[in-house]
Protein backbone atom coordinates (compact mmCIF):
# COMPACT_ATOMS: atom_id res chain seq x y z
CA UNK A 1 0.00 0.00 0.00
CA UNK A 2 1.15 3.56 -0.66
CA UNK A 3 1.26 5.74 2.43
CA UNK A 4 1.10 9.46 2.91
CA UNK A 5 2.79 11.18 5.82
CA UNK A 6 1.18 14.06 7.69
CA UNK A 7 3.37 16.27 9.87
CA UNK A 8 2.66 19.28 12.04
CA UNK A 9 5.33 21.03 14.12
CA UNK A 10 5.20 22.85 17.43
CA UNK A 11 8.21 25.08 17.79
CA UNK A 12 9.20 26.78 21.02
CA UNK A 13 11.24 29.91 20.49
CA UNK A 14 12.81 31.67 23.41
CA UNK A 15 12.09 35.38 23.09
CA UNK A 16 15.11 37.69 23.28
CA UNK A 17 14.17 39.65 26.39
CA UNK A 18 16.47 40.77 29.21
CA UNK A 19 14.14 39.70 32.00
CA UNK A 20 11.61 36.90 32.43
CA UNK A 21 8.08 36.94 31.15
CA UNK A 22 6.46 37.47 34.57
CA UNK A 23 9.36 38.57 36.80
CA UNK A 24 12.36 40.89 36.86
CA UNK A 25 14.95 38.08 37.03
CA UNK A 26 17.56 37.85 34.29
CA UNK A 27 17.22 35.44 31.37
CA UNK A 28 20.96 35.35 30.57
CA UNK A 29 22.18 31.87 29.68
CA UNK A 30 24.88 30.03 31.61
CA UNK A 31 24.62 31.60 35.07
CA UNK A 32 25.32 29.66 38.27
CA UNK A 33 22.25 27.49 39.07
CA UNK A 34 19.34 29.24 40.77
CA UNK A 35 21.01 32.66 40.87
CA UNK A 36 18.46 33.95 38.37
CA UNK A 37 15.37 32.47 39.97
CA UNK A 38 13.42 34.96 42.09
CA UNK A 39 10.39 34.46 44.35
CA UNK A 40 7.99 34.65 41.36
CA UNK A 41 9.95 32.03 39.41
CA UNK A 42 10.07 29.81 42.49
CA UNK A 43 6.31 30.04 42.89
CA UNK A 44 6.53 31.19 46.50
CA UNK A 45 3.22 32.06 48.16
CA UNK A 46 1.98 35.62 47.89
CA UNK A 47 3.76 36.63 44.69
CA UNK A 48 2.04 37.88 41.55
CA UNK A 49 3.17 37.66 37.94
CA UNK A 50 3.47 40.92 35.98
CA UNK A 51 3.69 40.64 32.20
CA UNK A 52 6.82 41.81 30.38
CA UNK A 53 5.93 44.31 27.64
CA UNK A 54 8.87 43.28 25.48
CA UNK A 55 7.64 39.67 25.31
CA UNK A 56 4.29 40.97 24.03
CA UNK A 57 6.03 43.23 21.52
CA UNK A 58 8.23 40.42 20.16
CA UNK A 59 5.21 38.12 19.80
CA UNK A 60 3.35 40.83 17.87
CA UNK A 61 6.38 41.32 15.57
CA UNK A 62 6.29 37.61 14.78
CA UNK A 63 2.55 37.73 14.11
CA UNK A 64 2.99 40.58 11.66
CA UNK A 65 5.83 38.77 9.87
CA UNK A 66 3.63 35.72 9.17
CA UNK A 67 0.69 37.96 8.18
CA UNK A 68 -1.39 36.69 11.07
CA UNK A 69 -4.19 38.34 12.92
CA UNK A 70 -2.89 39.96 16.10
CA UNK A 71 -5.60 39.24 18.63
CA UNK A 72 -6.81 42.44 20.32
CA UNK A 73 -7.82 40.34 23.35
CA UNK A 74 -5.69 37.50 24.65
CA UNK A 75 -5.85 35.52 27.86
CA UNK A 76 -3.32 33.63 29.97
CA UNK A 77 -4.36 30.23 31.28
CA UNK A 78 -2.93 27.73 33.71
CA UNK A 79 -1.78 24.42 32.30
CA UNK A 80 -1.76 22.11 35.31
CA UNK A 81 0.70 19.29 35.72
CA UNK A 82 3.13 18.11 38.36
CA UNK A 83 6.82 17.98 37.73
CA UNK A 84 9.62 19.14 40.07
CA UNK A 85 11.02 21.70 37.63
CA UNK A 86 7.62 23.43 37.54
CA UNK A 87 7.39 24.93 41.03
CA UNK A 88 3.83 26.29 40.89
CA UNK A 89 2.29 23.01 39.72
CA UNK A 90 1.10 24.81 36.60
CA UNK A 91 2.65 26.53 33.62
CA UNK A 92 1.26 29.93 32.64
CA UNK A 93 0.37 29.59 28.97
CA UNK A 94 -2.41 30.57 26.60
CA UNK A 95 -5.27 28.33 25.49
CA UNK A 96 -8.47 29.79 24.03
CA UNK A 97 -7.16 33.24 23.25
CA UNK A 98 -3.57 33.12 21.94
CA UNK A 99 -1.89 36.42 21.09
CA UNK A 100 -1.18 35.47 17.45
CA UNK A 101 -3.92 33.95 15.27
CA UNK A 102 -3.75 32.15 11.94
CA UNK A 103 -0.85 32.97 9.63
CA UNK A 104 1.44 31.24 7.15
CA UNK A 105 5.00 30.69 6.01
CA UNK A 106 6.15 29.81 2.47
CA UNK A 107 8.81 27.14 2.11
CA UNK A 108 10.75 25.97 -0.93
CA UNK A 109 11.32 22.26 -1.51
CA UNK A 110 12.83 20.92 -4.75
CA UNK A 111 12.32 24.27 -6.45
CA UNK A 112 8.61 24.41 -5.59
CA UNK A 113 7.06 26.90 -3.21
CA UNK A 114 4.59 25.53 -0.68
CA UNK A 115 2.53 27.50 1.81
CA UNK A 116 2.47 26.06 5.33
CA UNK A 117 -0.33 27.26 7.57
CA UNK A 118 0.44 28.44 11.08
CA UNK A 119 -2.49 27.76 13.36
CA UNK A 120 -1.46 30.04 16.18
CA UNK A 121 1.41 31.31 18.30
CA UNK A 122 1.05 31.81 22.01
CA UNK A 123 3.09 33.19 24.89
CA UNK A 124 4.10 31.00 27.81
CA UNK A 125 6.76 30.54 30.46
CA UNK A 126 9.50 27.93 30.28
CA UNK A 127 10.07 25.39 33.05
CA UNK A 128 13.31 24.78 34.99
CA UNK A 129 15.83 22.02 34.49
CA UNK A 130 16.10 18.68 36.26
CA UNK A 131 19.53 17.14 36.79
CA UNK A 132 19.22 13.44 37.49
CA UNK A 133 22.83 12.53 38.10
CA UNK A 134 24.65 11.95 41.36
CA UNK A 135 22.75 13.56 44.20
CA UNK A 136 22.48 10.48 46.43
CA UNK A 137 19.45 9.24 44.48
CA UNK A 138 17.80 12.68 44.52
CA UNK A 139 17.12 15.01 41.61
CA UNK A 140 18.76 18.45 41.46
CA UNK A 141 16.62 21.35 40.25
CA UNK A 142 17.92 24.50 38.56
CA UNK A 143 15.19 27.11 38.14
CA UNK A 144 17.18 29.71 36.21
CA UNK A 145 15.25 28.87 33.07
CA UNK A 146 11.86 28.87 34.84
CA UNK A 147 9.83 31.85 33.66
CA UNK A 148 11.85 32.49 30.50
CA UNK A 149 9.46 33.81 27.83
CA UNK A 150 8.60 31.39 25.04
CA UNK A 151 6.55 31.82 21.92
CA UNK A 152 5.09 28.45 20.93
CA UNK A 153 4.42 28.41 17.20
CA UNK A 154 1.97 25.72 16.12
CA UNK A 155 1.76 24.75 12.45
CA UNK A 156 -1.14 23.19 10.57
CA UNK A 157 -0.63 19.51 9.64
CA UNK A 158 0.43 20.72 6.20
CA UNK A 159 3.77 18.96 5.74
CA UNK A 160 3.96 15.68 3.83
CA UNK A 161 7.59 14.64 4.31
CA UNK A 162 10.48 15.00 6.74
CA UNK A 163 12.15 17.15 4.10
CA UNK A 164 9.27 19.62 4.12
CA UNK A 165 9.28 19.65 7.92
CA UNK A 166 12.98 20.52 7.97
CA UNK A 167 12.47 23.21 5.31
CA UNK A 168 9.71 24.75 7.43
CA UNK A 169 11.81 24.58 10.58
CA UNK A 170 14.79 26.17 8.84
CA UNK A 171 12.63 28.92 7.36
CA UNK A 172 11.13 29.68 10.75
CA UNK A 173 14.59 29.63 12.33
CA UNK A 174 15.82 32.14 9.74
CA UNK A 175 12.76 34.31 10.26
CA UNK A 176 12.94 34.60 14.07
CA UNK A 177 16.64 35.42 13.86
CA UNK A 178 16.06 37.87 11.04
CA UNK A 179 13.39 39.63 13.12
CA UNK A 180 15.72 39.62 16.12
CA UNK A 181 13.03 38.10 18.36
CA UNK A 182 15.04 34.94 19.20
CA UNK A 183 18.75 34.19 19.08
CA UNK A 184 17.99 30.78 17.53
CA UNK A 185 20.69 29.03 19.57
CA UNK A 186 19.65 25.39 19.45
CA UNK A 187 22.39 24.08 21.75
CA UNK A 188 21.17 26.42 24.48
CA UNK A 189 17.56 25.40 23.85
CA UNK A 190 16.41 28.74 22.43
CA UNK A 191 14.72 26.99 19.49
CA UNK A 192 13.10 23.59 20.16
CA UNK A 193 10.85 21.42 18.08
CA UNK A 194 8.14 18.84 18.78
CA UNK A 195 6.79 16.96 15.76
CA UNK A 196 3.32 15.44 15.37
CA UNK A 197 3.59 12.59 12.88
CA UNK A 198 0.94 10.32 11.41
CA UNK A 199 0.50 8.21 8.29
CA UNK A 200 -2.59 7.40 6.20
CA UNK A 201 -3.24 5.41 3.03
CA UNK A 202 -2.71 7.71 0.05
CA UNK A 203 -5.99 9.28 -0.99
CA UNK A 204 -7.63 8.94 2.43
CA UNK A 205 -9.06 12.19 3.82
CA UNK A 206 -9.14 11.39 7.53
CA UNK A 207 -5.89 11.72 9.47
CA UNK A 208 -4.25 8.67 11.02
CA UNK A 209 -3.51 8.51 14.74
CA UNK A 210 -0.53 10.69 15.51
CA UNK A 211 2.45 10.32 17.77
CA UNK A 212 4.24 13.35 19.16
CA UNK A 213 8.04 13.33 19.12
CA UNK A 214 9.41 15.62 21.79
CA UNK A 215 12.31 18.02 21.98
CA UNK A 216 14.31 17.41 18.85
CA UNK A 217 17.17 19.83 19.05
CA UNK A 218 18.79 19.92 15.61
CA UNK A 219 17.71 20.05 11.98
CA UNK A 220 19.48 16.78 11.29
CA UNK A 221 17.70 14.98 14.12
CA UNK A 222 14.29 16.33 13.08
CA UNK A 223 14.66 14.70 9.69
CA UNK A 224 16.00 11.45 11.12
CA UNK A 225 13.47 11.27 13.95
CA UNK A 226 10.52 11.90 11.63
CA UNK A 227 11.72 9.40 9.02
CA UNK A 228 12.26 6.84 11.71
CA UNK A 229 8.80 7.44 13.14
CA UNK A 230 7.17 7.18 9.69
CA UNK A 231 8.85 3.81 9.15
CA UNK A 232 7.83 2.60 12.60
CA UNK A 233 4.17 3.53 12.07
CA UNK A 234 3.94 1.99 8.58
CA UNK A 235 5.56 -1.21 9.74
CA UNK A 236 3.26 -1.36 12.75
CA UNK A 237 0.10 -0.91 10.67
CA UNK A 238 1.21 -3.28 7.92
CA UNK A 239 1.77 -5.95 10.55
CA UNK A 240 -1.79 -5.55 11.77
CA UNK A 241 -1.01 -3.23 14.70
CA UNK A 242 -2.40 0.18 15.59
CA UNK A 243 -0.65 3.47 16.26
CA UNK A 244 -1.49 4.77 19.72
CA UNK A 245 -1.63 8.47 20.49
CA UNK A 246 1.38 9.05 22.70
CA UNK A 247 4.47 11.11 23.30
CA UNK A 248 7.73 9.61 22.08
CA UNK A 249 11.28 10.66 22.73
CA UNK A 250 13.92 10.59 20.00
CA UNK A 251 17.18 8.90 20.97
CA UNK A 252 19.85 10.25 18.61
CA UNK A 253 22.42 7.69 19.71
CA UNK A 254 20.26 4.68 18.89
CA UNK A 255 18.40 6.55 16.11
CA UNK A 256 14.99 5.46 17.35
CA UNK A 257 11.95 6.89 19.08
CA UNK A 258 10.58 5.35 22.23
CA UNK A 259 7.43 5.82 24.22
CA UNK A 260 7.68 8.44 26.93
CA UNK A 261 4.28 8.57 28.60
CA UNK A 262 1.88 5.69 28.56
CA UNK A 263 -1.76 6.21 27.70
CA UNK A 264 -2.97 5.81 31.28
CA UNK A 265 -0.76 8.72 32.26
CA UNK A 266 -2.00 10.81 29.33
CA UNK A 267 -2.04 14.39 30.46
CA UNK A 268 -5.21 16.12 31.38
CA UNK A 269 -4.00 19.65 31.83
CA UNK A 270 -7.27 21.14 33.14
CA UNK A 271 -6.65 24.55 31.62
CA UNK A 272 -8.45 27.52 33.13
CA UNK A 273 -7.92 31.31 32.89
CA UNK A 274 -5.20 32.43 35.31
CA UNK A 275 -6.88 34.65 37.91
CA UNK A 276 -3.50 36.29 38.64
CA UNK A 277 -3.40 37.88 35.20
CA UNK A 278 -5.90 40.15 33.49
CA UNK A 279 -6.71 39.84 29.79
CA UNK A 280 -4.10 41.46 27.54
CA UNK A 281 -5.56 44.15 25.32
CA UNK A 282 -3.59 45.16 22.26
CA UNK A 283 -4.79 48.38 20.70
CA UNK A 284 -4.17 49.89 17.29
CA UNK A 285 -1.58 52.40 18.50
CA UNK A 286 0.57 49.64 20.06
CA UNK A 287 0.37 47.73 16.80
CA UNK A 288 1.10 50.69 14.53
CA UNK A 289 4.17 51.59 16.62
CA UNK A 290 5.49 48.07 16.13
CA UNK A 291 4.59 48.07 12.46
CA UNK A 292 6.58 51.28 11.94
CA UNK A 293 9.66 49.73 13.55
CA UNK A 294 9.42 46.46 11.63
CA UNK A 295 12.42 45.67 9.42
CA UNK A 296 11.91 44.94 5.74
CA UNK A 297 10.83 41.30 5.74
CA UNK A 298 12.85 38.61 3.91
CA UNK A 299 10.16 38.03 1.28
CA UNK A 300 9.85 41.74 0.47
CA UNK A 301 13.61 42.18 0.47
CA UNK A 302 14.07 39.25 -1.88
CA UNK A 303 11.52 40.73 -4.27
CA UNK A 304 13.31 44.10 -4.16
CA UNK A 305 16.71 42.47 -4.79
CA UNK A 306 15.29 40.74 -7.85
CA UNK A 307 13.65 43.82 -9.33
CA UNK A 308 16.10 46.57 -8.31
CA UNK A 309 19.33 44.65 -8.82
CA UNK A 310 18.18 42.15 -11.46
CA UNK A 311 19.48 39.24 -9.35
CA UNK A 312 18.38 35.71 -10.11
CA UNK A 313 16.12 33.90 -7.66
CA UNK A 314 18.89 31.82 -6.12
CA UNK A 315 21.21 34.75 -5.36
CA UNK A 316 18.35 36.87 -4.03
CA UNK A 317 17.22 34.00 -1.78
CA UNK A 318 20.69 33.39 -0.35
CA UNK A 319 21.42 37.07 0.21
CA UNK A 320 18.16 37.69 2.07
CA UNK A 321 18.34 34.73 4.47
CA UNK A 322 19.82 36.96 7.14
CA UNK A 323 19.75 40.68 7.70
CA UNK A 324 23.53 41.03 8.24
CA UNK A 325 24.21 39.25 4.94
CA UNK A 326 21.73 41.43 3.03
CA UNK A 327 23.21 44.55 4.64
CA UNK A 328 26.73 43.39 3.75
CA UNK A 329 25.69 42.96 0.13
CA UNK A 330 24.03 46.34 -0.13
CA UNK A 331 26.85 48.29 1.50
CA UNK A 332 29.52 46.49 -0.58
CA UNK A 333 27.53 47.24 -3.69
CA UNK A 334 27.11 50.88 -2.78
CA UNK A 335 30.80 51.44 -1.99
CA UNK A 336 32.13 49.55 -5.00
CA UNK A 337 29.66 50.86 -7.56
CA UNK A 338 30.11 47.50 -9.31
CA UNK A 339 27.50 45.48 -11.14
CA UNK A 340 25.05 43.92 -8.64
CA UNK A 341 25.51 40.51 -10.27
CA UNK A 342 29.30 40.64 -9.84
CA UNK A 343 28.90 41.70 -6.22
CA UNK A 344 26.33 38.97 -5.52
CA UNK A 345 28.51 36.31 -7.14
CA UNK A 346 31.52 37.17 -5.01
CA UNK A 347 29.51 37.18 -1.80
CA UNK A 348 27.51 34.01 -2.43
CA UNK A 349 30.54 32.34 -4.04
CA UNK A 350 34.10 32.91 -2.82
CA UNK A 351 33.25 34.78 0.37
CA UNK A 352 30.53 32.36 1.55
CA UNK A 353 32.76 29.38 0.75
CA UNK A 354 35.65 30.88 2.74
CA UNK A 355 33.36 31.73 5.67
CA UNK A 356 31.87 28.23 5.66
CA UNK A 357 35.29 26.66 5.62
CA UNK A 358 36.39 28.77 8.57
CA UNK A 359 33.08 28.24 10.39
CA UNK A 360 32.41 31.97 10.53
CA UNK A 361 29.27 34.08 10.19
CA UNK A 362 29.15 37.09 7.87
CA UNK A 363 29.32 39.35 10.93
CA UNK A 364 32.76 37.89 11.74
CA UNK A 365 34.06 38.09 8.16
CA UNK A 366 37.80 38.87 8.05
CA UNK A 367 37.07 40.80 4.84
CA UNK A 368 34.92 43.81 5.64
CA UNK A 369 32.33 45.08 3.17
CA UNK A 370 34.63 48.03 2.48
CA UNK A 371 37.64 45.88 1.60
CA UNK A 372 35.60 43.58 -0.63
CA UNK A 373 34.20 46.69 -2.34
CA UNK A 374 37.80 47.77 -3.06
CA UNK A 375 38.40 44.49 -4.87
CA UNK A 376 35.18 44.71 -6.86
CA UNK A 377 35.99 48.25 -7.93
CA UNK A 378 39.30 47.07 -9.41
CA UNK A 379 37.61 44.18 -11.23
CA UNK A 380 35.00 46.55 -12.62
CA UNK A 381 37.49 49.10 -13.94
CA UNK A 382 39.64 46.36 -15.50
CA UNK A 383 42.65 46.98 -13.28
CA UNK A 384 42.76 43.25 -12.56
CA UNK A 385 41.33 40.21 -14.29
CA UNK A 386 38.86 37.83 -12.64
CA UNK A 387 41.60 35.25 -12.24
CA UNK A 388 43.98 37.64 -10.49
CA UNK A 389 41.04 38.82 -8.37
CA UNK A 390 40.95 35.38 -6.73
CA UNK A 391 44.60 35.81 -5.70
CA UNK A 392 43.84 39.26 -4.30
CA UNK A 393 40.83 37.82 -2.46
CA UNK A 394 43.01 35.23 -0.73
CA UNK A 395 45.42 37.96 0.34
CA UNK A 396 42.56 40.14 1.57
CA UNK A 397 41.43 37.18 3.69
CA UNK A 398 44.90 36.74 5.22
CA UNK A 399 45.79 40.37 5.83
CA UNK A 400 44.31 43.72 6.71
CA UNK A 401 45.60 45.44 3.58
CA UNK A 402 43.25 47.00 1.05
CA UNK A 403 42.85 45.56 -2.44
CA UNK A 404 44.75 48.52 -3.92
CA UNK A 405 47.69 47.99 -1.56
CA UNK A 406 47.81 44.29 -2.44
CA UNK A 407 47.64 44.94 -6.17
CA UNK A 408 50.43 47.53 -5.97
CA UNK A 409 52.64 45.45 -3.66
CA UNK A 410 52.34 42.23 -5.66
CA UNK A 411 52.47 43.95 -9.03
CA UNK A 412 49.18 42.37 -10.05
CA UNK A 413 47.94 45.22 -12.17
CA UNK A 414 46.55 44.01 -15.44
CA UNK A 415 48.63 44.81 -18.50
CA UNK A 416 46.53 46.58 -21.09
CA UNK A 417 49.51 48.05 -22.90
CA UNK A 418 49.03 46.52 -26.34
CA UNK A 419 52.71 46.96 -27.21
CA UNK A 420 53.81 44.72 -24.35
CA UNK A 421 51.20 42.08 -25.18
CA UNK A 422 52.07 42.18 -28.88
CA UNK A 423 55.73 41.58 -28.16
CA UNK A 424 54.93 38.44 -26.20
CA UNK A 425 52.53 37.20 -28.89
CA UNK A 426 55.15 37.66 -31.59
CA UNK A 427 57.64 35.66 -29.56
CA UNK A 428 55.16 32.81 -28.96
CA UNK A 429 54.15 32.65 -32.62
CA UNK A 430 57.82 32.47 -33.60
CA UNK A 431 58.51 29.66 -31.09
CA UNK A 432 55.50 27.55 -32.02
CA UNK A 433 55.36 27.40 -35.79
CA UNK A 434 53.86 23.90 -35.77
CA UNK A 435 50.78 25.07 -33.86
CA UNK A 436 50.52 28.13 -36.10
CA UNK A 437 50.32 25.83 -39.12
CA UNK A 438 47.64 23.74 -37.44
CA UNK A 439 45.59 26.82 -36.64
CA UNK A 440 45.87 28.18 -40.13
CA UNK A 441 44.80 24.83 -41.61
CA UNK A 442 41.54 25.15 -39.70
CA UNK A 443 42.16 23.62 -36.26
CA UNK A 444 40.48 26.38 -34.24
CA UNK A 445 41.02 24.52 -31.00
CA UNK A 446 44.73 25.41 -31.03
CA UNK A 447 43.69 29.00 -30.29
CA UNK A 448 43.25 28.15 -26.61
CA UNK A 449 46.85 26.91 -26.56
CA UNK A 450 48.08 30.33 -27.66
CA UNK A 451 45.90 32.17 -25.11
CA UNK A 452 47.32 29.90 -22.42
CA UNK A 453 50.89 30.50 -23.47
CA UNK A 454 50.47 34.28 -23.52
CA UNK A 455 48.81 34.29 -20.11
CA UNK A 456 51.50 32.07 -18.68
CA UNK A 457 54.21 34.34 -20.04
CA UNK A 458 52.45 37.40 -18.60
CA UNK A 459 51.67 35.71 -15.26
CA UNK A 460 47.95 36.07 -15.78
CA UNK A 461 48.10 39.82 -15.77
CA UNK A 462 47.18 40.48 -19.39
CA UNK A 463 43.69 41.69 -20.14
CA UNK A 464 42.06 38.55 -21.62
CA UNK A 465 39.86 40.48 -24.09
CA UNK A 466 42.88 42.31 -25.40
CA UNK A 467 44.89 39.08 -25.73
CA UNK A 468 42.09 37.43 -27.69
CA UNK A 469 41.77 40.34 -30.06
CA UNK A 470 45.50 40.72 -30.73
CA UNK A 471 46.09 36.96 -31.09
CA UNK A 472 43.33 36.61 -33.64
CA UNK A 473 44.70 39.44 -35.78
CA UNK A 474 48.25 38.16 -35.64
CA UNK A 475 47.44 34.51 -36.32
CA UNK A 476 45.30 35.37 -39.28
CA UNK A 477 47.95 37.67 -40.76
Amino acid sequence: MEWETVIGLEIHTQLATQSKIFSGASTAYGAEPNTQACAVDLGLPGVLPVLNEEAVRLAVIFGMAIEANIEPYSVFARKNYFYPDLPKGYQISQMDHPIVGQGHLDIEVDGETKRIGITRAHLEEDAGKSLHESFHGLTGIDLNRAGTPLLEIVSEPDMRSAKEAVAYMRKLHELVRYLGICDGNMQEGSFRCDANVSVRPKGQQAFGTRAEIKNINSFKFVEKAINHEIERQIELIENGGKVVQETRLYDSVKDETRSMRSKEEANDYRYFPDPDLLPVLIDESFKSQIKASLPELPQAKKHRFKTDYQLDDESATILTTSRPLADYFESTLKTSKSEPKLCANWITGDLSAALNKAGLEITDSPISDERLAGLLTRISDNTISGKIAKQVFDLLWQSIATADEIIAEQGLKQITDTGAIEAIIDKIIADNQGQVEQYRSGKDKVFAFFVGQVMKEMKGKANPAEVNKLLKTKLQA
Binding site: S19, A25, N34, V40, E53, E54, T139, I141, L277, V280
Partner: protein, 95 residues
Amino acid sequence: MSLTANDVTQIAHLARLGIDKQDIVSYTKDLSGILDLMTQMSELNTDNVDPMAHPMDQAQRLRADSISEPDNREKFMSIAPQAEAGLYLVPKVIE
Protein backbone atom coordinates in the same frame (compact mmCIF):
# COMPACT_ATOMS: atom_id res chain seq x y z
CA MET B 1 -23.59 15.90 34.49
CA SER B 2 -22.77 13.33 37.13
CA LEU B 3 -19.44 11.98 38.21
CA THR B 4 -18.57 8.37 38.88
CA ALA B 5 -16.35 7.10 41.66
CA ASN B 6 -13.69 6.48 38.98
CA ASP B 7 -13.80 10.13 37.90
CA VAL B 8 -13.21 11.23 41.46
CA THR B 9 -10.25 8.89 41.88
CA GLN B 10 -8.79 10.15 38.59
CA ILE B 11 -9.25 13.85 39.51
CA ALA B 12 -7.67 13.24 42.90
CA HIS B 13 -4.72 11.56 41.18
CA LEU B 14 -4.25 14.48 38.74
CA ALA B 15 -4.31 16.93 41.65
CA ARG B 16 -2.01 14.64 43.67
CA LEU B 17 -4.52 14.57 46.51
CA GLY B 18 -4.61 11.55 48.80
CA ILE B 19 -8.21 10.70 49.67
CA ASP B 20 -9.60 7.99 51.89
CA LYS B 21 -11.42 5.24 50.05
CA GLN B 22 -14.40 5.55 52.39
CA ASP B 23 -14.83 9.23 51.45
CA ILE B 24 -15.10 8.60 47.71
CA VAL B 25 -18.85 8.11 47.83
CA SER B 26 -19.50 11.40 49.60
CA TYR B 27 -17.03 13.29 47.36
CA THR B 28 -18.74 11.88 44.32
CA LYS B 29 -22.10 13.06 45.58
CA ASP B 30 -20.88 16.55 46.59
CA LEU B 31 -18.89 17.20 43.41
CA SER B 32 -21.76 15.94 41.27
CA GLY B 33 -24.03 18.37 43.09
CA ILE B 34 -21.77 21.28 42.11
CA LEU B 35 -21.66 20.14 38.50
CA ASP B 36 -25.43 19.70 38.44
CA LEU B 37 -25.75 23.33 39.49
CA MET B 38 -23.50 24.28 36.55
CA THR B 39 -25.71 22.24 34.24
CA GLN B 40 -28.70 24.15 35.54
CA MET B 41 -26.92 27.45 34.89
CA SER B 42 -25.99 26.41 31.37
CA GLU B 43 -29.69 26.29 30.51
CA LEU B 44 -29.56 30.09 30.35
CA ASN B 45 -29.18 31.52 26.87
CA THR B 46 -25.67 33.03 26.69
CA ASP B 47 -25.45 33.36 22.89
CA ASN B 48 -24.62 37.06 23.07
CA VAL B 49 -22.44 36.94 26.16
CA ASP B 50 -18.65 36.71 25.79
CA PRO B 51 -17.01 34.22 28.14
CA MET B 52 -15.44 36.08 31.03
CA ALA B 53 -11.72 35.59 31.57
CA HIS B 54 -11.51 37.68 34.72
CA PRO B 55 -14.05 39.20 37.10
CA MET B 56 -12.29 42.57 36.96
CA ASP B 57 -13.13 44.56 33.87
CA GLN B 58 -9.58 45.81 33.32
CA ALA B 59 -6.64 45.19 31.03
CA GLN B 60 -3.35 43.64 32.11
CA ARG B 61 -0.67 46.21 32.89
CA LEU B 62 2.72 45.58 31.35
CA ARG B 63 6.11 46.10 32.93
CA ALA B 64 9.24 47.37 31.19
CA ASP B 65 11.80 44.72 30.30
CA SER B 66 14.46 45.40 32.91
CA ILE B 67 16.24 43.20 35.42
CA SER B 68 15.03 44.20 38.87
CA GLU B 69 15.53 41.00 40.87
CA PRO B 70 18.93 40.47 42.48
CA ASP B 71 20.34 37.04 43.31
CA ASN B 72 18.80 35.80 46.57
CA ARG B 73 19.78 32.18 46.19
CA GLU B 74 21.25 31.81 49.66
CA LYS B 75 18.07 33.09 51.33
CA PHE B 76 15.79 30.90 49.22
CA MET B 77 17.98 27.84 49.77
CA SER B 78 17.96 28.38 53.52
CA ILE B 79 14.20 27.69 53.61
CA ALA B 80 14.33 24.76 51.15
CA PRO B 81 13.98 21.26 52.65
CA GLN B 82 17.14 20.14 50.83
CA ALA B 83 19.72 21.90 48.68
CA GLU B 84 23.22 21.15 47.45
CA ALA B 85 25.70 22.67 45.01
CA GLY B 86 23.29 25.50 44.27
CA LEU B 87 20.51 23.07 43.36
CA TYR B 88 17.20 22.35 45.08
CA LEU B 89 17.00 18.64 45.76
CA VAL B 90 13.77 16.68 45.33
CA PRO B 91 12.85 12.99 45.30
CA LYS B 92 13.93 11.37 42.06
CA VAL B 93 11.42 11.55 39.23
CA ILE B 94 12.09 9.58 36.08
CA GLU B 95 9.66 9.59 33.15
